[in-house]
């Protein structure tokens, strides 16, 4: 006679880079139901918008997350620019696209390392993070920072690229592409990786839609969900962006989408560097944010993030709100965990690429 058991999973667990708790109701080794709970790393960052002026707050916004920090500073700047009707120079839009896509490469390489570690594939973990160093070196050489680099501001960007930095970009990315071609086949063709990931944590396209998935989670199930298709900022329209899609919806498909996006980001950065327009990199905001409310979105490495601000005509915004992609993907995680084997829970959780500090802000 089988007996149901409630197993606490997290907040501290070797597979979790950040604290989230799941109560797993088990029938023998099968998960019957999963109940998520959060609240361990809430920092009250949104509230700080009342204490910092609209220019200073960009430094807070980029600290929402250490991995997609540039995307958050871009999202915040973009929504304030919309409220203040600021037209950003074209060169700044290209530079934002370049640093944002480099952040996507950073995020996906970091995640691939964590995924390899969760499978017990330590050398693959080490190789993935070794490649990530090339990306951090570019950040350092072009902005002075390796993770939080404050390149974005309301009105444009703070730093330009000179010819030497463009060359460093291209040289490092060529090295990265070459090395990626040696480790990507291990993720995609190795038998042990396939045994751990294929057919595990399957989310059909219908379920991905019904559970509101975003980002690589949605695209691995075949959904054409990518805000870069519609982005009013950046250089995506000029660069001819097309999302990477897979159909299987399992953990393997989520790995395949992210690897496909690594190559795609390399191509986007290369095209943006080749077509970098001449001109100014920023305009000076005049006055304070107007009275009113605005939304904007950014396709972060983990998926769509939505940014909201409410202005009151003073230097301080009245409200800032951010909905991050992990927040939108938790319902699908709950769906995937119901019915899976207990041994697959770590891999399934990891393949949503959870970022809890983003989620709690």
């Amino acid at each position: 006679m089988l007996k149901n058991t409630v197993l606490p999973f997290g907040p501290q667990h070797p597979v979790l880079p950040e604290p989230v708790h799941l109560d797993l109701e088990l029938k023998d080794e099968k998960v019957v139901k999963a109940v998520p709970s959060i609240g361990y790393v809430h920092r009250g960052l949104e509230k700080l918008v009342e204490k910092r002026d609209f220019q200073q707050y960009v430094y807070v916004a980029e600290r929402v997350c250490g991995i997609c920090s540039f995307g958050h500073s871009w999202g915040y700047s973009k929504v304030v620019e919309k409220l203040m009707k600021i037209e950003v120079p074209k060169r700044a839009e290209y530079l934002r696209t370049i640093w944002h896509e480099l952040s996507r490469i950073h995020s996906h390489l970091l995640w691939l390392g964590l995924a390899a570690d969760a499978m017990g594939f330590e050398s693959l973990f080490m190789q993935s993070w070794r490649l990530r160093e090339l990306v951090l070196d570019i950040f350092e050489a072009t902005t002075g920072g390796r993770v939080i680099f404050s390149a974005c501001k309301v009105g444009g960007v703070r730093r330009d690229l000179n010819a030497g930095q463009v060359k460093l970009f291209k040289d490092n990315l060529a090295l990265l592409r070459k090395d990626l071609q040696t480790i990507a086949p291990t993720f995609l063709k190795d038998k042990t990786v396939a045994l751990r990931l294929k057919g595990v944590g399957v989310l059909t396209a219908e379920d991905a839609h019904a559970f509101g998935c975003v980002g690589p989670m949605a695209r691995a199930s075949g959904l054409m969900e990518d805000y870069r298709l519609y982005d009013e900022g950046g250089a995506y329209k000029e660069l001819g962006f097309k999302p990477v899609l897979e159909r299987a919806g399992d953990c393997y498909a989520r790995v395949a989408v992210r690897i496909g996006e690594l190559y795609q980001s390399l191509n986007l950065i290369g095209a943006a560097l080749d077509n970098l327009p001449e001109g100014e990199i920023a305009v000076r905001p005049m006055g304070f944010p107007a009275v009113g409310e605005c939304f904007t979105r950014v396709e972060q490495p983990r998926g769509e993030a939505i940014y909201y601000v409410k202005g009151n005509g003073t230097k301080n915004l009245e409200r800032f709100k951010l909905r991050t992609p992990t927040n939108a993907n938790i319902p699908a995680l709950v769906k995937m965990l119901a019915g899976c084997d207990l041994a697959d829970v770590p891999n399934i959780i990891l393949t949503i690429d959870p970022c809890i500090s983003c989620t709690e802000r």
């Binding site: 149901n4 409630v6 708790h21 109560d23 109940v35 019904a210 559970f211 605005c294 939108a328």
Partner: protein, 137 residues
């Protein structure tokens, strides 16, 4: 500036059902306090364009859950309930966490005036026992 469609609470379910039938995706539900009252914003997306609904909810009132139309709304309805103390009625029972979604020292910390009762016990442990289902081994 953003277009916000003001709705009465009684109009919410009808409008949400209409947006769903038009193929919209729920992007988020957002809550703010305006004085003692709640201000809810529902964002929906279709092909990159947002539709934004705005609800003013007087203190002490509840709001119908939209989980029957968009199941995954439970993530935001549970969050708003736990942080602001706003009650959502007729949430799909399986996804109503009864104040257990956020680990908090104090119930409804962003609206200290709210009356919120959180059952004892931790997470699913409490909810499972309340349902008379599984028990800890």
């Amino acid at each position: 500036m953003e277009q916000l469609v003001d709705l009465a609470v009684t109009e919410l379910l009808g409008k949400v059902a209409q947006l769903r039938s038009e193929g919209c995706r729920l992007v988020q539900i957002m809550c703010s306090m305006v004085g003692q009252d709640y201000e809810l914003t529902y964002n929906f997306d279709k092909d990159g364009a947002l539709t934004n609904l705005r609800l003013a909810v007087p203190a002490g009132n509840s709001v119908p859950s939209i989980t029957k139309e968009f199941l995954y709304a439970f993530i935001w309805e549970n969050e708003i309930h736990d942080l602001f103390g706003l009650q959502f009625t007729e949430m799909v029972p399986e996804f109503d966490y009864h104040g257990k979604f956020f680990h908090l020292e104090q119930a409804a910390p962003w609206n200290p005036g709210a009356q919120v009762v959180v059952p004892k016990g931790l997470g699913i442990d409490a909810s499972v026992k309340a349902e008379g289902g599984a028990k800890n081994a």
